[in-house]
Amino acid sequence: MKPSKASQRYRSIRRNTSQHCFYQESLLLSTLDDSFTADDTGDSNDPEQIFQNIQFQKDLMANIRCRPWTMGQKLRALRRAKDIVLKFEGRLTRTRGYQAAGAELWRKLARLACNFVVIFIPWEMRIKKIESHFGSGVASYFIFLRWLFGINIVLTIMTGAFIVIPELIAGQPFGSTASKTIPMEHVASAQDLDTVWSLGGYLQYSVLFYGYYGKERRIGRAGYRLPLAMAKNSRTSLASASSENYTFCWRVFCAWDYLIGNPEAAESKTAAIVNSIREAILEEQEKKKSKNLAVTICLRVVANILVLLSLAGSIYLIYFVVDRSQKLEQSKKELTLWEKNEVSVVVSLVTMLAPSAFDLIAALEMYHPRTTLRFQLARVLVLYLGNLYSLIIALLDKVDSMSIEEAASQNSTSHWTDSATFATRAASEEEKWSTLGPGVGLRRNSTWALEEANVPTYTSPLSGANKTTVSTKRPQDQCWETYVGQRRGGPEEEVEGGRGRAWGHPRIPVFQELLKLSIIDMLFTVASILLIDFFRGLFVRYLSDYWCWDLESKFPEYGEFKIAENVLHLVYNQGMIWMGAFFSPCLPAFNVLKLIGLMYLRSWAVLTCNVPHQQVFRASRSNNFYLAMLLFMLFLCMLPTIFAIVRYKPSLNCGPFSGQEKIYDIVSETINKDFPAWFGSVVGYISSPVVILPAVLLLFMLIYYLQSIARSLKLSNHQLRMQIQNARSEDKKKVAQMVEARIQTQDESTKRLPKDSDLGSQLSSTHPATPQNNGNVVSFDSSSSKSSRIETVTHPAPRSPRPGPGSATSPLPGFSKSRLEPSTTR
């Protein structure tokens, strides 16, 4: 026998409305008691019906997460749905069951795999901890750091696999060729700390540097160029053009970072929210005020001038320092520790101090904090780029002058061979030095001179009479590339008899400088973290009791973690590495170690010494910005490398490209000799202007086309948004009108409504209203909410059960009802 009227009506509704409004139905499903088993439904043998039923249940199962039901309801609905599907699918086909089981197993596996993979992500727990203390802004810095770490590892692997390992395995062993052996007189000093510090000695002659690599042409190495950064994290930011519309709302409703789990952080976050609200209030008030434009503009101009001056000053300073160090090399025999490291120290100091200076200057400008931050970032970026570029240019200038002299000297000396007569040469070197004696002041010079390898006694290669000084060079010294990757070597002292520290030759510190710079930069970072953050924290915490004013809230306070500047620092660091990566293949490996150290140090420092921000920093929008900056930096940093490759002659004696006019000649050589003839001619044809120019033209056209598409898409996006807004406001107007119309009809019908808390009446009244809803439950779409609003407007006592078999679009048991139902029935 039929259980109740309710179930009858339920079934009739089910039959009629099927997929529509399953939100409401399933709601009813869950509120009815469990006597409703699978047997009651699907009372007909109509396969179409059964199939629809099954589909409905499957949809329900798939979307169950998105329903705003309580857990109990969800579980019951899910169980019921599964029962139904299992029972009836068996009638239709068997295999679907297996499919479903397979799919479920796969889902379970996928979930397991997901959970498992998280274990392997390095530093995940650490970053989560930081996120909970400091919010997602600071955590984004560490995520960026981790990403850079990944990139460097990839770079290391690639350089390692293609360059270092083949060389190690198959190249000439250490000691066989001239470029791989340490000259005799250096061996004694090779292990001095000083020498190691300046990357001389064993390190210089190791795989660390370019000069080690043999000359044999190998396909893998010949055409190798720096790998491009793999930018797979292209995060699409939610383009909200209406960003200015909802400022207060967002600050109130979205400001709280629910990932915070720590009272101090919560307090700071509260303070941050208070500040941001106050800021917004201030802005609001300022909009009404008129500003004193003249003074502001004046101050801003002054600030900009100061900034430009300091930028120019830093660039000049670096150039000056590099120049001075070169002159020092030439004039003095022994350089002090300071003078050796001067360039790196100066560059690092500037890098540390200038951003703080910019901060102070920015206080003059009185911009909105967001604008100030952007300006700050831009200025710091320009500063870093300027520093790097001026360093490179200064150093390359030296290369230039050296290569000119080298070319000149080449004419006046005989050539040498890279032979295995190392022993004789060593002997002859010593001999030579003793012949020269102390009288001849071997002074620094930036000339390269060649030595005769085989001649036992040779005159010192006074390369040209017009040279003012003389120096003896060995083939190993002529690797300007190595010294580019290294740094200016240790104390340059000529020692009679070859004892002591005896590098003694001007090196061209082009890329050699970069590694040294990287090391010193690391030291400075460590020092600054310790000094600025750690000691400051100690000072404030323990001395504030004895100090005149409250150290913790006024100057100097605890440090904050400056996200933007630290990220820029990372980008700058990476730029340095990219500049030198070609000439020193192990630079990325070193950078990996540096990043690991930096990660541990910074995460410790953040957790120990820093407090969360006072100003709310919108991290989510900046991800693309950082990525863009990084790629831009990559491009800019590759330019000097490419320039150096193209312009300068490789040194004659070391490195894989030695002996050629230009480094990239290797490519043409390879093509000519190793590949079949037709390939060579094809490549030759391709690289002629006939093909290149149209290709470039085509690229330009493509860029223009893509850009115009992007522009038109933005425009249509904006227009669509406007349309949505208009449609919504029109709907609201209609609703308001309908409301008034309803008020009269409702008033009449309230008299005759039965006090029936049975759902049955509601069900019948829902019936005509349901077609309005589409089945999209996830968006609580306007019609249902409108109707619920109608209900509450017409009936100020919302808790009473709804009336109205008579009303046409009577209120639906929308979600407000859903909440009411449980409360009344429980």
């Binding site: 997460r65 998105c66 705003p68 309580t70 857990m71 109990g72 579980l75 899910l78 169980r79 379970k108 997602s136 930011s237 939610l238 909200s240 209406s242 960003s243 519309n245 909802y246 400022t247 207060f248 709302c249 967002w250 109130v252 409703f253 979205c254 400001a255 709280w256 970072d257 629910y258 990932l259 789990g261 009272p263 919560a266 509260t270 929210i273 208070v274 609200i277 106050r278 917004a280 209030i281 609001e284 919108r618 989510s620 929008r621 406001s729 609201k732 609703v735 308001a736 996830v778 968006s779 609580f780 306007s782 909410s785 619920s788 609003r789 509450t792 919302p798 979600f815 449980p822 409360s823």
Partner: protein, 162 residues
């Protein structure tokens, strides 16, 4: 019931930890057990949250903050990172609706702002903020925010992370 949502097992143990003497280890008999709000409010995830009381009230059976296991699971599933934005927006609306009338009226807003800022803002600032919020988000100009207004506003926020 755990087999349907495996991650719930972990949460069950946490629920059990809150009140070991109250919560039985065996749930097959579906006991009617509620953990009182005072214990729930001490959980680390909620302890520092200014809205913890509202959250517990919204997810609890009777609106009083005492939660059964089902309520508990519900709460965590909505607050988790995997829940869809619409769902979160819906529950956020309920949380901020202090008087449970399906609208965020001015009084609700005042409560929200006061709780959020822990009383740091003075009355004038609070009222200014409420005024601005209603200005910005109230689409139909009835002096309060309906669910629709709220959703419109929330779903456009770029960092509605939670």
């Amino acid at each position: 019931s755990f087999s349907l949502f495996p991650s719930h097992t972990r949460l069950y143990y946490r629920y059990q930890d809150l009140a070991p003497q109250l919560v039985p280890l065996d749930y097959t008999s579906c006991p009617d057990v509620k953990v009182p709000y005072e214990l729930i409010g001490t959980m680390p995830e909620l302890k520092d949250n200014p809205f913890r009381q509202r959250i517990a009230q919204v997810f609890s059976e009777d609106g009083d903050g005492h939660m059964t296991l089902d309520n508990f699971l519900d709460m965590f599933s909505v607050m988790s990172e995997m829940a869809p934005r619409d769902l979160k927006a819906y529950y956020a609306f309920k949380i901020y609706d202090f008087n449970n009338d399906d609208y965020i009226c001015a009084w609700d807003l005042e409560q929200t702002v006061t709780k959020l800022t822990r009383g740091e803002l003075n009355a004038e600032e609070v009222s200014l903020v409420c005024e601005k919020v209603l200005d910005e988000a109230d689409g139909d100009h009835d002096g309060r925010l309906s669910l629709e207004d709220f959703q419109n506003m929330i779903l456009r926020a770029p960092d509605f992370l939670r």
